[in-house]
């Protein structure tokens, strides 16, 4: 019953997110602040992880191709497919559920604990619109982060090829151009937009409706990470089945 109640409350929160909009002059500031906190603030860690995981994917692929009949350019091909189809949109989203999600839950949860949300509501402000909507809009720039993750993942693979001597740069570049299907990019970005919505709303839900004190803020952050990850993984499966099968 609790799960059903929470699912219902989550969808009601989404409905409330679009009701009684906050004054644009104030909302504009909140959106820019959230773009800075959630998008710009994540670029460093995303760039670092993407570059090195791209390298690791390349090394592992190269080391598993020991048949001399298999062309070397396949390393680049496999790296591109892994990064564009799965690593950048899904793996990075799980990392973002930890980084951005826990930030959202703890910041909104702290506002709940310290009665700042009550203060907003007493003033007649739609607290859900004020707090969640700017995060939702900011995370609509999330595909920009994923584009960088895709690019740096492939560059990381190229660097690993070059420094590890697994294949030549030319072979790698031929590999990443081989059998390119533009719809795979569309598929990755459709997933990214869906995950961005989840990243903005699930942690906000856990922060907004939390009860208790400082300890519960920590627990809510953990719960929000778990649920965001679970829903991302499930939605990833459903979208993949719908779009690629």
């Amino acid at each position: 019953m609790t799960y059903l109640h929470n699912i219902g409350a989550y969808f009601l929160m989404i409905k409330d997110m679009f009701r009684k909009p906050t004054k644009w002059s104030v909302m504009k500031t909140l959106i820019f602040k959230d773009i800075d906190d959630l998008i710009m603030g994540s670029l460093g860690i995303v760039a670092f992880i993407s570059f090195f995981v791209g390298g690791v994917v390349t090394i592992q692929t190269a080391l598993n191709i020991d048949n001399p009949l298999i062309p070397k350019y396949l390393v680049g091909f496999a790296t591109r497919q892994s990064i564009i189809l799965e690593f950048a949109p899904t793996f990075i989203s799980i990392i973002m559920a930890g980084k951005v999600g826990s930030f959202i839950t703890s910041s909104i949860g702290t506002m709940r604990v310290t009665e700042q949300i009550d203060a907003l509501e007493v003033m007649g402000i739609n607290a859900i619109n004020y707090l969640v909507f700017p995060k939702f809009i900011a995370l609509m720039l999330y595909p920009f982060v994923i584009s960088i993750a895709m690019f740096l993942g492939i560059v990381g693979g190229m660097a690993a090829c070059f420094f590890g001597g697994y294949s030549s740069i030319d072979d790698y570049i031929i590999g990443i151009q081989t059998d390119f299907i533009p719809f795979h990019i569309a598929y990755a970005f459709i997933k990214t937009f869906a995950f961005a919505f989840l990243l903005a709303t699930i942690p906000s839900f856990h922060g907004f409706y939390m009860k208790g004190g400082a300890l519960e803020v920590g627990k809510a952050s953990t719960t929000s990470f778990v649920w965001t990850s679970v829903v991302i993984i499930l939605l990833n499966y459903i979208l993949t089945q719908m779009l690629l099968s």
């Binding site: 104030v26 310290t114 009665e115 700042q116 009550d118 203060a119 007493v122 003033m123 007649g124 402000i125």
Partner: protein, 256 residues
Amino acid sequence: MIEVKDLQKSFGDAHILKGITTTFENGKTSLVIGQSGSGKTVFLKCLLGLFTQDEGTITYDGNIYSQLNSDQKRDLRSKMGMVFQGSALFDSMTIAENVMFPLRMFTKQSKSEMQDRVDFVLKRVNLPDAHNKMPSEASGGMQKRVAIARAIVNNPKYLFCDEPNSGLDPKTAIVIDNLIQEITDEYNITTIINTHDMNSVMEIGEKIVFLKDGLKAWEGSKDNIFITDNKVVTDFVYSSELFKKVRKMYLEERNT
């Protein structure tokens, strides 16, 4: 005038408010007192619309709150100011931004007009140089004064204070009490203060409502509380030796 009729509120099996009926006069300071757990905060949050009552009505100047549509509720709430127990200042904003917040949200004033109003209000609460401080850099007393400034910046008709002097030293607590009383008189605000601080009872307020176990156990004026024989009230208000002596002196003076 705020009229409360048969206000009831439960959370699960816990029946917190069991039918409270009272009125709060316009332009007056009223105190809601009672032990911790007596239902004071729930009562105040029901008045503010933060909790929806299970039974009963709350009427603001003839308008029953539960019958207002969402726009009317929003209008009414923009006429309310609230000082929370923990101040509830927005910790990502400076003190000036906190005070300016209601003006940014609800008025079409220019930035310089808003700035002038913030300067005026911060001066009124004796914080003329605190504009650029963050709430975390302010003391408890300063935070309470900023919360009062934020509550009155938009000229509210109703001011609600939940334990405004909790956690403050006695001297600062009296400063905050007097500030609320002065502001109430100056701007003709209807003020309701939740407190269990007996110093506040002695210092400020015209009307006192005493809650016990979710019921109104007594109500009367500040003078009446000295002469009441209601055992529930006297047990609570005069629990300390100091206040027993104050009462004794008051009664002796009154009889001579």
